[in-house]
């Protein structure tokens, strides 16, 4: 009986710990991944998937040195999967050479920074989003992307060279 109540207490404690982590990190992750993928809904789905995975194994994840880092890493992987699927889908549509008639109103012209961001390769876009939007250091960006710090620095440098044209068109 005592063991059951102790276990129930630990379960409550774990759940409270998870809730606190969710409240602290969910919005920043959604914001940075939205910039990385350009779609707030996709970003939210990826982050929610990552938190769901963390929840099912929270006893283990909560003991890691950096539980939010683990969750962010899972979310970034989910987003990469999404990129792969959409890229394949887009390629298939292009192969069909379909000239769809657009009836929706033209969206507002994107800012120059958004245009330049959309032109970045995926890795550079993710690195820039995590570094600038979520304000992570290189080490945490590397962990989230599963890359070395050197690789992250390379991607950030390349992204910065492209994005700076929004500030200084002569560069």
């Amino acid at each position: 009986m005592g063991d059951m109540s102790e276990e129930a207490g630990r379960e409550d404690s774990r759940r409270a710990d998870f809730d606190e982590t969710f409240r602290r990190w969910w919005a920043p992750m959604v914001r940075s991944l939205t910039v990385a993928c350009g779609d707030a809904e996709v970003a939210s789905d990826c982050v929610q998937d990552a938190f769901t995975r963390a929840y099912t194994r929270w006893r283990r994840v909560s003991r890691l040195d950096d539980p939010p880092g683990w969750i962010r890493h899972v979310a970034v992987n989910r987003m990469r999967d999404h990129f792969r699927k959409t890229t394949r889908g887009r390629a298939a549509v292009e192969r069909l050479d379909a000239q769809a008639v657009t009836t929706a109103p033209e969206p507002a012209p994107p800012s120059e920074l958004a245009t330049l961001l959309a032109q970045l390769p995926t890795q550079q876009r993710i690195a820039a989003a995590l570094f600038y939007v979520e304000d992570l250091d290189v080490q945490h960006v590397a962990h989230a992307m599963g890359l070395s710090e050197g690789a992250v620095k390379y991607h950030l440098h390349a992204a910065r060279q492209t994005l700076r044209r929004s500030v200084d068109p002569q560069s």
């Binding site: 809730d19 969710f22 409240r23 969910w26 919005a27 959604v30 914001r31 940075s32 939205t34 910039v35 707030a40 939210s44 929610q48 938190f51 769901t52 995975r53 929840y55 099912t56 194994r57 800012s111 920074l113 958004a114 961001l117 820039a128 989003a129 600038y132 939007v133 304000d135 250091d137 290189v138 620095k153 390379y154 950030l156 440098h157 910065r160 994005l163 700076r164 929004s166 500030v167």
Partner: protein, 215 residues
Amino acid sequence: MNDERDPLDETLADGLRALAPAEFTLDADRTLGEMRPRLRQARTRHRLTVTTSVLGALVVVVGGAALLRSDPSGQLDVQGRPTPTVSSPAPSTTVGRSTTTTTLPRSTTTVPQTVVTTPPGATPTTSDTTPPTSRTTPPPPSQTKTYTAQGGRITIRFANGRLTLVSSAPSPGFTSEVHKQDPDDVEVRFENGSHESRIRVRVTNGQLRPEISEN
């Protein structure tokens, strides 16, 4: 590119943050509340998966162990032991008489058997029966026979004029003793303290001559 940020980095950060959804539009509490059923389902599914995996592994381990134990012969393999070299049949001495003795408890229902391996010289030719208890030698093309007495039974193989003791199995409560194991003469005795059974098989003119005595 280092962690230090210059004014350009700050400008880029401001511009990129402006592309992200506003903080106030992201309600973590509401989202967490909406996710609760999904979280519970995911955890249940995860636990089910883990439990199934553990049970599956357990079944494999237990099944493998059961298969290993299911060998019905319970044979005692004595392959590699030296064959008897002393042929003195004197009943008053025990020197060199016994090569392998197996004692079977009375409560045991499965009869263990002592398997005697084929001597290197016994090259099998043809077979009309398959040795029921031998697993250490391939089924030889030879003549194999089993003789039963009150104290136990033996199986011998006869090939190329040579006689080979394949196995001896005492009845419950008896002990077996290979008394003689020559190419033309094999004798096994079974004893339980009050009774002795002897099974002797000799080769005479190329024919098997079995003798079974009970005392």
